[in-house]
Amino acid sequence: MPSLKSLPIAGQPPRAWRSLDEMLAPPVPSRELGPEAPPDDATSRRSVLQLLGASAALATLGGCLKPPDEKILPYTRQPPEVTPGNPLHYASASVIDGRATGLLITASEGRPTKIEGNPEHPSSRGAAGPLEQAELLRLYDPQRLKVVQYRTQPRSWRDFLQAAVTRARALREAKGEGLRFLVGPGSSPLVGSLRQRLLESYPQAKFFSWSAIPLQQIHDGAQLAFGGAYETRLDLSQAKVVLSLDSDLLAALPGTLSLMRQWADKRDPAKGPMSRLYAVETNLTVTGMNADHRIRQKPTDVARFGLSLLGRLAAGVPALSRYAQLVQRFPLSAEDSRVADALAKDLMVAGRGALVSVGPRQPPVLHAAAHAINSALGSACTAQAKPVLHDSDAGPRALRRLAEEMRKGGVDTLVVTAWNPVYGAPFDLNFGKALSQVPNSVYHSLYLDETAERAGWVIPALHPLESWGDARAHDGTVSFVQPLISPLYAGVTEAEVLAAFLGEGDRTAYTQLRELWQTRAPEGFELNWEKWLADGFIEGSGTPPERLQVRHDQIFAAAMQLPQRETTPGYEINIVPDYKVWDGRFANVSWLQELPDPVTKLTWENAALLAPKTAEKLGLAQGDRVELGLSGPPAHAPVVIAPGHAEDCVTVAMGYGRHSEAEALCNGVGFDTAALRHTDAPWFAAGLTVTPAGSRARLAQTQEHHSMEGRLIAASTSLAKLKETSEGLAEHRGVPLTFHKPVEYPGHKWGMAIDLSRCTGCSACMVACQSENNIPVVGKEQVAKSREMHWLRIDRYFLGEDTANPGVVLQPLMCVHCESAPCEYVCPVNATVHSDEGLNEMIYNRCVGTRYCSNNCPYKVRRFNFFSYTSDYADTEKMAFNPDVTVRSRGVMEKCTYCVQRIERARISTRVQGRGMRDGDVVTACQQACPTQAIVFGDLNDGAAKVSKLHAEERRYDLLFELGTRPRTAYLARVTNPNPELA
């Protein structure tokens, strides 16, 4: 038993307790001397014994709660699963706004070092988007909140529990009146059960759900169409004609990874008929970049276009005949109506293969209209199911109700586990002020952010990689979140915070989770539990789709209520979630800040995107600062001229302009869009004023030239011209004329193939490469100087003469491992040489940094350490490094290695198994992460390997073939499938 001295006796005596009853019992008398001091009065035998007992209990608990002394000892007996140098993989999940993506996480010597998708998981299928992968850096972020705080004073979790119990007692008496919870959109069964129990204990308490990017309008649309809250499940594997109405299906965002794969599988002309994609949108999105036809509409006009299309379908689809007059009600321009007619015809022809998908920013009526179309066409690509989220109403509307209660003084205790509502809330709610007025507020957060500054108690959250939990995937599949590392800082999970109000603050998330699932599936639990955790999810736990009747009358009535045209004069504001920081919660992740936006290639900030014509009208050039004014205070933004943007509107991405000193990385980066968001119009609104501010900003874009100058760089062709193009490409592949004797590669001959038809530009590969290869982040100033370090970049070129709505082609480009490499012969110190398997290798410790290799590299894929970019890494950040890859020093050149460390690991493990390497044994990081499987790596000596087959395809060409470099990476020309009627 630990001595009584181990108890902290100064200041507040610690009050540990085992149950609420104990806690609510009269407090143990205390004086300065602490619990061991005899009480002044009533020193009866009974009280002495009581005291003795209590002291013993407290002392025991004190010993239990104190973190154990840490001693570093070698394993005397090595745990069977740990071999130093061999990484371990665990299944877990990343949960963004309640949608789980199954992950497979690599841990090297006990520290997570790489996040990949779980190939078995339905919402990942092995892929992981930039956000999921970047969770790794959030784990190691030294700027995370480290201790519990009460009004900026550091406290302990036990202090909080004590306070919570006091509050709980009062609240319980009031039946929970004044107790409010503000949670993020969640699907966790554990949190769901806690919520239920909380409502049982506090009948008057209420839960509100908040996310700056809510799915509320989807649910409202389903309500309109089906009379209940439903979510639409998409299946693009059946799709022939897909219409995206502002629905960004092909960006690697929460819930899209499996769709991207299905879409890409339908884009190979050699494998069955290709699908066709139409996109109706305001700003060029990742989906729009990949669309066969792109229709630009002002944000408020997207719904009108959709309803007009519904009207056009009335003529050919009997079930939709009542909508015929929508064509007259929502007249389109001549060009748009030509496209809409062709599109309507195309959708009708596609029938079961037709799919209309509507983005979450669009009004409910458009969602309902899409349901009407999909159902009338008998689309096999959609199905309705009960939402996986606990609250279908999560967003500004719910937050407004809460804010009103708060302002009226109706909220006594507010527990916030939603991400940063003070930052994300529309300006008109003035949520920060309302929060300051709440007498008792608790905020559970990973960072000391804007909301934390105004909250009473701030409880550090555990990172998903440190915590236990569960959540549902997009199809309802229960997925488990498992810790891979013991918490770096004192934190708790959301479930533990909620449990504190049930008097169960001492029950860890693990206990709660296990008990919940034990009660839910008691049969064979132990075996199942092991399997679930090993798999990362419960197979077959998805919620089934339901057959529903579309309520056409209601939809029609709602459609007729949509104003015929926008009457407010002025420009329109169009607010979009950011591809990199989402709603701002990933803003402190340097990988994401430095990741070029897939469309604008802008890093380290957001900007006001304008169509070239609109910019011309306003007299604005790239980088000019403007003042954007709506009803709130103006926002100051730099201008980025965005070809393909709709005219007379301005698109801004949310998630920037944070004012959180603790999050030093993102503090003050970009501008905040909250002032442009109104609770009633959180996504777009008319009446925007754009005033040139007269100053200029230096933008950090990774690509500044967007034309291919007529060169064959990223080849793109249409299905109709495929044959012709392939014949042309034949002159751009194979072995060029040479004097030299060809070099033999008798063993392995590594090569890669990149299918431009599959690449959507989502940038998941870039983050995967950065994580796998310890690529440093260099900061905005360095990016502006064109010194970014990404080994893999995605080039984005505009095609065609039409700057208003150009075509786009994307090209991932990293070292192509030339067989006749121009970089090798110019290096004076032999620091870059060729391996016998054809890898162009870089020997970092031999490199003196003349940069001649980069000058002579026609692809310019080499990256130079102009400074020592890794020397200021915090100790925790260093834990994210991949131990298999050298961290480069200043003055050294680096570049893609074809993930040589993975080749070597596969070589070792196959040798241990006593066999040679087979196709699929080596998977590069970019290939692994790619949601569309656009990147394939393998042995070109193996004729049966997938990569060899791709190299033999007629769409294959070698980049800059005429230089005779003989790149090992081959590209497959992109093929689009435009509607012949619109050609």
């Binding site: 060169r711 064109s786 010194r787 984005r796 110019v826 490199c847 003196v848 940069r851 980069s854 130079f864």
Partner: protein, 481 residues
């Protein structure tokens, strides 16, 4: 016929290379006067400026070494910029020295005598500036300084002999060594003369040490002449080889704008062009302030202008051929560089500066006025120096900033460190030169004396033929043609 020709010759008789009635005594006095007189205010002021600039150079070097190449404006795609521009520029400037010392010696051009010491010193100091950059521009100079040399290391790794950068190391180090030896050998008789005429004990000891015990005996002179001639023979191929190899740094790459077979001759011509321009830039003020007009006569200046005109024309031909080859090849990348990036791209101003300074300006030397007007010579030579710097800027930066794949394209902007390195090396060069002028004879006194004797008494000097006749115009033109 013959009669007329002889008459014409007499009329064309050029002005003497040593003006006025000079003897050894007056020459000794006038040519070394600057050394013995107390430092002048102007000299001190210039030295102060030079030292300040050298301080700036040290600061820029220190920052580069401490923080990295990131303090320069270089990026990807522009991996080389000011560092290599300055290197090539200074190496080019250094070419005049060898040409004047060695080639003109072998061709028996008498007018070289008054300027060879000057040019050699300039060469040496220019190569010293140039030598800074190859090491400094690397990412890890602490390794680059010896890993580029082929020595049997325990790493068992040799340098890459296929790399032109490797060849550069040999070319530049050989050039520096030979130039130093040549310069020093030529100095020995003059150092002895200074030793003998010095009034202070310290000067006598200092000059005495470096004079290596020269007594001016016939045996000394005999050995001296042989060594000098041998070194001249050794240095002669270097004039062609050094800049040829420097040009291979570019020509051997595959980058459009670099990958050009005309580079070696055009780089050598450009080097001589800029070297003579630098000699003129320096000698025009020096001959005035150091009272050397009697040995550095308008005839000398004119001859140098003619060399500049000739090499300028070769350079202009090089430019024309580059453009022609780009057009004739039909290669889209080449055409982009020569017909878009350079004349119409964002650095077009640099291109036109180069063209004006290197092609238009030297044309004034067709006229007698241009070759004899001291301001025309001096400003022209300055502009040529500027033009040659921009030529290298265009070759290096402009070619790199827009190459094969348009997504790579990016602009290059120099930083304060880049500008300080350029300004700093100019100042350091100036400082070395000022010290040279103050402590060593700026003209080869012994050779001038010899020339003076030749002119007046017809004594055989270093010449293999008997020079017992006055120089005629044809000879001079032969040298510069």
């Amino acid at each position: 016929m013959a009669e007329t020709a002889i008459e014409g010759r007499t009329e064309l008789r050029p002005p003497a290379l040593v003006q006025g009635e000079q003897d050894d005594g007056t020459l000794n006095k006038t040519l070394n006067a600057f050394i013995w007189e107390p430092p002048r205010r102007g000299w001190l002021a210039l030295l102060g400026l030079g030292l300040a600039g050298t301080g700036l150079l040290s600061a820029a070097v220190a920052v580069t070494l401490a923080k990295g190449i990131g303090t320069w404006g270089n990026n990807i795609p522009v991996g080389w910029a000011f560092g290599i521009i300055n290197f090539v520029w200074w190496i080019g400037i250094g070419h005049a020295g060898t040409l004047i010392s060695a080639i003109l010696l072998l061709f028996q051009q008498k007018w070289r005598t008054s300027i060879n010491r000057f040019a050699e010193a300039m060469t040496l100091f220019a190569v010293m500036q140039a030598g800074l950059f190859p090491v400094l521009h690397t990412g890890r100079p602490w390794f680059a300084i010896y890993w580029l040399f082929p020595y049997p290391s325990t790493l068992k790794i040799w340098p890459q002999f296929k790399s032109p950068l490797m060849w550069d190391v040999f070319a530049v180090s050989t050039y520096f060594t030979t130039s130093l030896l040549f310069w020093y050998l030529g100095l020995i008789p003059d150092l002895a003369s200074l030793r003998d005429s010095s009034t202070s004990r310290r000067a006598r000891i200092a000059y005495g040490i470096f004079a290596l015990g020269w007594r001016g005996s016939a045996r000394h002179w005999h050995h001296y002449k042989i060594a000098y001639l041998l070194l001249a023979g050794l240095a002669t191929p270097l004039v062609l080889s050094v800049h040829t190899i420097v040009s291979w740094d570019f020509a051997l790459s595959i980058l459009p704008g670099w990958h050009t077979t005309i580079f070696p001759p055009y780089f050598v011509a450009g080097a001589v062009f800029s070297g003579f321009a630098m000699v003129l830039t320096l000698i025009v003020p020096a001959r005035r302030f150091m009272h050397l007009k009697h040995v550095v006569t308008p005839r000398h200046l004119e001859a140098m202008c003619k060399v500049m005109l000739l090499t300028g024309l070769i350079v202009a031909y090089g430019y024309a051929m580059e453009h022609f080859a780009a057009w004739y090849s039909g290669n889209e990348f080449e055409k982009h560089v020569f017909f878009f990036t350079r004349p119409r791209g964002p650095y077009a101003w640099a291109y036109f500066t180069q063209m004006f300074c290197n092609v238009v300006v030297p044309q004034i030397y067709w006229t007698r006025w241009g070759r004899t007007n001291i301001w025309a010579i001096w400003i022209g030579s300055l502009l040529i120096n500027v033009g040659m710097w921009f030529e290298r800027f265009n070759i290096i930066v402009t070619s790199l900033h827009q190459d094969f794949i348009p997504s790579n394209w990016a602009m290059y902007y120099p930083t304060w460190v880049d500008l300080s390195l350029l300004a700093g090396t100019i100042c350091f060069f100036g400082t070395l030169f000022l010290l040279f002028l103050k402590f060593l004879p700026a003209v080869a006194v012994s050779e001038i004396k010899e020339l003076n004797h030749e002119i007046h008494q017809g004594h055989a000097g270093i010449s293999l033929h008997s020079p017992d006749r006055p120089l005629h115009a044809g000879e001079l033109e032969g040298a510069v043609r």
